[in-house]
Assembly symmetry: C2
Homo-oligomer: 456 residues x 2
């Protein structure tokens, strides 16, 4: 599909030379994201103002041309792949930190600001913004908001939905609007802010966000606990979450992942049935009692070793296994299927056991690790050839069915995008999906915003 | 308006004798709420199951009869007054705590459970549900969710929107649905949960809620700081909120309110230009450093006295001024106008000064106090006769205009209901209101749910 000449001409009156392109090399660069799915857009726009986004969406609506918002394309679900062509709106040049307001514990940013850059800018003020995806140095705040992306700290500090006060955005009608507040509390009408967060660009394009900041605790202590088996580790997670001191990270790594990490990361990675990485933060004089409380909960049947790092070097050594994991997986399978299912914490032992059984049944390699404090597990299927790839897909459907049976859901932080859309009816009732479609129509009556994503 | 006989007969097939009434005495009892507005419903229903609510809404939709959900009517905005008649659905008999699940830090409740009863039931498990309106012993969780009702603890622990994982509900179509998750993290489709919270029964009737629980800290320390004037106190609030230890209550009382409390509460109430009540919670061995950090921030230009309670009796004595306030106001003006505006914390000094100027200009008595840590001030106008009542209303419009000019919003925790509806265009852009109307239509195409509320 080529864009209508009239549309292109009209767009050019709002976008200067170099900020709107139909060049094939550029289009190729914006055809894919970290899902490795691929589809060519008809044009790529690089807005720098809210008004440009309003004009673009309004014009595309007139011509019924798809509009796909894009942060930095680090998502793993194909949420930014332009499956129906259209205009990709890359927010990479709309990347100003508009205001840092420590007195009111908030920051106003444009969507293209990188998560890592924001954290750096907040540091001198003694604050941070809690969402911390592993891709933090390269992912944008706009993308974090679109996908409700989280990370290890979510267990204590929440996801973007708990850490955003207000938004400015452009709906599928081309109308700009503001929602939410510039205050830490509000009960003035419907919560459109949270509705947009996690909507993956299907309801509106976010052009500005007012983020809620959290004071950065000055102290951090890292612990590593190894267990005889995954069940013992999962039970320890439930014990840790049932006592009052909430860790700021509570990461789980299963035996398969540990073995993989050890093969690639060397002897510093422990041999064990499962491992927990635990971090607690706070002011320095409160840390010893916090470490003691969490350690008490981590101990129990099946614990093999509990180490508390005393220095920065020791902390780094404890994290080495977790760090070795990503490169190790890539070596085995460049086509890894990376899921992020979530179950109630108490059901983690059943999930982990169930996944082991499915790996055996379908004869595929699965490593599981992730944010256990939220019951959020990265289930990575590592097919090494086409036959394994086929078996992996059959296995995946059963993984999702297991998760739903355990009262869990499809995604904790990656979202739905293209790749999990077909599984949505597993997780949501027809009436709920029907209401979501109505909400979609309320914001985007012509269905031009990121078509083919999220809703089945 | 009388209900159509066919509707009444059909309803009776779903509601046994005594659970649906058209008796005038009963209708009168459900005609008003704490706003003191008044309008007679045509019938009152007392469902005990989700299915009954589905049937009721479906039938009322067929006959285009309004349906008004009601918790315990403690709201102050007229949100549950049936201004167009119809059926009031009182959830007072749907009041089971379905499940308390400490391992997963959640509880499942029916909407009629009283907030205070829930807190009592959670105590033995070491958890609490953070929203704590002053009406906690008498208000229902369903009402708290409908209005996003908060309280002093919100400054540290958030409002219902931050403390609810999932809902079961019935939309205006009569269709039941579930939304949200049974997990502490989720990125599976649109966030309908938060959309329903604070929607004041205009989108759906909540029939079950999965609430996120927080471990209850075992220690609490109470401080009272008095200041030369309201500006000095407001600046102390901003200092307290800019350091890492977040208090679990940070309440402000202005000089007029203090004088009133002293007249009624006696000598234990201090004479001062303004007062802050501050509470910090935590584990006992962390409390001294928390108290020290907050005290340091509370000190500064204009501080007159800082007292830290050492015993339960001292704590009670420190709170006496705040406690004396409500009865004192009622004595002066049974028709008090109770607002709950909110501004960014750093703008509190301007808000407080501005309100003083408006009180003088319109010659009305205004006392201000409230949840200063969130910038959420209860601005109470106390008219003593009809002339003052008229002047109060003129003054109120200017109070709202001031709040908006300070980047604040109309309501922090009471909501909009009937009484603040006309002011919504002050706070929200026409495009935002238009989207909210679209969302309303997405859930309630015939506009039968709580008509005349929230949206202007």
């Amino acid at each position: 599909m080529k864009l209508p000449d009239a549309l292109l001409a009209a767009l050019r009156s709002h976008f200067a030379e170099g900020s709107l392109t139909t060049d094939m090399a550029e289009r190729l660069a914006y055809a894919y994201d970290n899902s490795r799915r691929n589809a060519l857009p008809d044009a790529v726009a690089f807005p720098t103002t809210h008004e440009q986004v309003e004009a673009l969406v309004g014009l595309c609506r007139e011509h019924r041309v798809p509009v796909i918002a894009r942060g930095r394309g680090t998502n793993t679900t194909g949420a930014t792949v332009p499956v129906d062509g259209g205009v990709v709106v890359s927010f990479e040049r709309m990347n100003r930190i508009v205001r840092i307001d420590p007195d009111n514990r908030l920051a106003v940013v444009e969507p293209g600001v990188l998560n890592g850059d924001l954290q750096q800018a907040l540091k001198p003020h003694g604050f941070f913004w809690p969402p911390d995806p592993t891709s933090s140095p390269w992912c944008s705040v706009g993308g974090n908001l679109a996908c409700n992306s989280a990370g290890p700290r979510t267990v204590k500090y929440g996801s973007p939905r708990e850490n955003t006060l207000g938004l400015r955005a452009v709906a599928g009608t081309g109308e700009g609007f503001r929602c939410g507040t510039y205050t830490s509390k509000g009960a003035t009408g419907y919560d459109l802010t949270r509705l947009l967060i996690g909507s993956e660009g299907t309801l509106a394009l976010i052009t500005e966000a007012t983020l809620k900041l959290t004071p950065k605790p000055s102290g951090l202590r890292t612990m590593r606990a190894t267990y005889r088996d995954v069940g013992a580790a999962a039970r320890a997670v439930a014990r840790i979450m049932a006592q009052p001191v909430t860790p700021c990270a509570l990461e789980f790594i299963d035996d398969v992942a540990l073995k993989l990490a050890r093969d690639h990361g060397g002897d510093s990675v422990p041999v064990a049935g499962a491992m927990l990485m635990i971090e607690v933060d706070g002011e320095p004089d409160t840390l010893p009692s916090a470490v003691e409380a969490v350690s008490r909960a981590a101990r129990g049947e099946g614990l093999e070793e509990l180490k508390v790092a005393q220095t920065a070097e020791e902390t780094q050594a404890l994290w080495s296994a977790r760090k070795a994991l990503s490169p190790a997986q890539r070596t085995i399978s460049p086509n890894k299927i990376n899921e992020d299912v979530v179950v109630p914490v108490s059901r983690l032992p059943e999930l982990v056991d169930g996944i082991k059984a499915l790996a055996k049944k379908h004869d595929v390699l699965i490593v599981s690790f992730g944010h256990a404090g939220n019951g959020n597990l990265h289930v990575n299927l590592l097919p090494r050839d086409d036959a394994e790839r086929e078996r992996s897909h059959a296995c995946l459907a059963e993984v999702f069915a297991l998760v739903i049976a355990l009262e869990g859901t499809l995604s904790g932080e990656h979202g739905i995008g293209l790749v999990k859309r077909e599984f949505m009816p597993l997780a949501l009732q027809p009436t709920t999906l029907h209401l979501m479609r109505n909400v979609k129509a309320a914001f985007d009556p012509d269905g031009i915003l990121n078509p083919g994503k999220l809703l089945p």
